[in-house]
Symmetry: C2
Subunit: 253 residues, 2 copies
DNA sequence: TCGTGTTCCGTACGATGTACCGTACAGAGT
DNA sequence: ACTCTGTACGGTACATCGTACGGAACACGA
């Protein structure tokens, strides 16, 4: 129920592992790349809860402990998974910068791509990255996402801050989205079904007059969104506000 | 390493548990309230990883399985922990609304209080709340945080969206903060120490000229923040941008 | 041919959440 | 006062996890 740790071991070893070629095979053909891909397959198909070293080994037809010859531990494996997923984001470092609509269009593109990323890899949202993974693809991602902010009147620090703000927004919203979907899958109930199931019990116990604003707004939002929250709407609304705020910062110069 | 689940059982039972009095004691004096407090004590002192049903029972001098008489499972226990933590946020429903500085001052207050909440209860950030906990204190929190947005020119739905945006920002930033602190605690290295430990390995393997913008901006941000990221700065910067964006939305009317 | 180092992996340990089921007690009914 | 019954308590057991340990099997340079 809580977050699993990440990045506990030797930094130098982790860095070397992330930036290595991943193709050196032993006598059973076992490769770091193969291990990572198997892990991605499991996490993608059955979620992070289903990901265990035993399952990975099983999928590769290999003893469980053989994995530890190539990978220090599960922590480092997930780091590799994350960086691999990042690699699917942009096929070109200048993809965001060459988007129409200036820096704003570029940032909308960045947000959309990250949103898609979490949609395709919801397990990423369950990993508590104790430290940002500095792999090759993560570095490329950072470069690609910073470039459109170059030369528009922001200081270096502001460029970093703006990007962080946007990415935090997307990630947080995607986390809500993934949570909703997971419950839907666990309980077999849709968002509205679950709400209807708890409504009678709630009404019996909660005095709505104590929460006048909350009940009115909650009701309105619930009806508009077909459920308590609509992550897709939250993404767009939030991004629009954020970009307006950034535009105001730039205009102030 | 991944997020633990939440809210898997019967909705009605969960609601009743959350809104109940928590004082009915059996013959050994065991209470839902006592269980929740013990759990909060463990999570607060040693983190969520240290929280187990056995540890809670041990702390209460009680058999492990006795807990299950009062609480359906660990999932519901964490739900109760969360709602209890929410109870410490505002001592008055009108605390945010009666803050100086209008709606903007109120939202800054709300953000600061939530920031403090996660600072005091970092374990909350590790729980994957599969569904927002609708307990009494969560409801009060929602009401208190919505009130300052009343009557300033936003629709009901926009009120909800604005609040969600702010809370998502605070939570996401707090998550980064908690992650950094946890690594610091796990590895015994400070932010800068860890970075210095991986720097030589990174330089050996990463060609900085491939990431011109990233390395320049990263360097600048790293120096300004005494580490790769400065969550406190990210909080303030992001909140300022967001509130500017909201102000622009209101002004547009 | 013989070290010698690397890769593979079977076994085992200490955790975890909780299902199951027996036991023991508190309070109601007589 | 005595029995009956429902609830609270908790011991044991199971499946699962990450991984430490150490032996076996192989590749390869000398």
């Amino acid at each position: 129920m809580d977050g699993k740790k990440s990045s506990g071991g030797d930094p130098a070893r982790s860095v070397a592992l992330l930036w290595g070629s991943h193709t050196k095979a032993g006598r059973s053909g076992l490769t770091v790349r193969a291990i990572v891909e198997a892990a991605l397959g499991i996490a993608g198909a059955e979620g992070l809860d289903a990901l265990s070293m035993r399952r990975v080994a099983e999928r590769l037809g290999v003893g469980t402990m053989s994995l530890y010859t190539h990978v220090p531990g599960k922590t480092e494996l997930t780091d590799l998974m994350i960086d691999t997923a990042y690699g699917q984001l942009y096929d070109d470092v200048d993809a965001p910068a060459s988007q129409p609509g200036g820096w704003r269009g570029a940032m909308e593109f960045v947000a959309a791509r990250n949103w898609d990323l979490y949609l395709r890899h919801p397990w990423m949202l369950q990993i508590v990255t104790a430290r940002p993974v500095v792999g090759p693809n993560a570095s490329l991602k950072y470069e690609a996402e910073l470039r459109p902010l170059e030369g528009i009147g922001l200081s270096d620090i502001e460029m970093d801050s703006v990007l962080t703000l946007i990415l935090t927004h997307v990630e947080g919203t995607a986390r809500v989205r993934a949570s909703l979907e997971q419950v839907q899958q666990n309980t077999g109930m849709s968002e509205t079904e679950w709400w209807l199931a708890s409504a009678p019990a709630l009404e019996k116990v909660m005095d709505a007059s104590r929460f006048p604003v909350a009940s009115r707004v909650g009701q309105a939002a619930g009806q508009a969104h077909n459920g308590a929250t609509d992550p897709a709407h939250a993404l767009d609304f939030g991004l629009a506000r954020i970009l307006d705020g950034v535009a105001a910062l730039i205009a102030r110069r």
